[in-house]
């Protein structure tokens, strides 16, 4: 097991999931950049607080080196006409590369960026469906239904098929 760094949208949705604690069956700990915490309101912070208190989640301060790298990634994704990479996702990627963490995000852009930029090829980017698959294995279908209901998300049917799920 290892650490992962999570972006805002992933956390907002995962924290609504009835089995959110099972995330720690896959990762020892989850890093939360300060800029991600700052983008969460009262409800999100309250739900994140027990993870911080138990040290399963920890904060990463704003570090200029990562911020500069994040800007470079945003500019690269724009110049290559990749899906739009938002600054928090870019920051997570910069942290992940330097610290050896996985990235947790429900946005597509980071997955495309690590395919396009060779020095990021080793960074593992997982969305909530990937994480559910790691946790639930053969009982994934039930978990997908629960997650869609709790988080208000819809998984792409073609992506679900890659995991053998037909809803």
């Amino acid at each position: 097991m290892s650490a992962a760094v999570a972006d805002t949208c992933f956390l907002v949705h995962w924290l609504r999931f009835r089995d959110r604690e099972r995330l720690f069956e896959v990762f020892d700990s989850v890093a939360v950049p300060a800029m991600v915490l700052e983008e969460m309101g009262a409800r999100g912070r309250a739900m994140l607080a027990p993870w911080l208190a138990s040290r399963r989640a920890f904060l990463i301060p704003r570090i200029n080196e990562y911020e500069v790298e994040a800007l470079r990634l945003v500019e690269f994704s724009r110049s290559q006409r990749l899906p739009t990479l938002d600054p928090p996702e870019a920051y997570c990627l910069a942290v992940a590369r330097r610290r050896g963490y996985a990235v947790l995000t429900d946005n597509k852009a980071p997955k495309y960026l690590v395919r396009a930029l060779s020095e990021y090829a080793s960074v593992k980017v997982l969305d909530s469906l990937d994480v559910l698959a790691l946790i639930y294995g053969s009982t994934l279908t039930r978990a997908v239904r629960a997650y869609e209901e709790d988080a208000g998300l819809i998984f792409s049917r073609s992506r679900l098929r890659t995991y053998g799920v037909e809803l």
């Binding site: 972006d7 805002t8 949208c9 907002v12 949705h13 983008e39 969460m40 309101g41 009262a42 409800r43 999100g44 899906p83 739009t84 938002d86 928090p88 996702e89 429900d106 946005n107 597509k108 997955k111 495309y112 395919r115 969305d127 909530s128 469906l129 988080a151 208000g152 998300l153 819809i154 998984f155 792409s156 073609s158 992506r159």
Partner: protein, 71 residues
């Protein structure tokens, strides 16, 4: 990995079709504009920025507007 353009086109159609447009049009600015940004782009972070709200608070409005996030 599926083509991003194909994925995003299908996701945008789903967001447009699922959205409660009456709810969206009743919202004050800049919430209304932000919800429309979300329908068109699927970018929750960007839409929350337009709304001037924390992401989780804007996401609660997104749920009321019946705009799905497609992953």
């Amino acid at each position: 990995m599926e083509s991003y353009e194909e994925f995003e086109r299908e996701a945008r159609e789903l967001r447009r079709r699922s959205a409660d447009w009456e709810f969206i049009e009743r919202q004050p600015e800049p919430i209304r504009a932000a919800l429309k940004v979300l329908v068109e782009t699927g970018d929750l972070w960007l839409a929350a920025k337009v709304a001037g709200l924390p992401v989780d608070e804007f996401d609660e409005i997104r749920l009321k507007a019946k705009i799905p996030i497609v992953v």
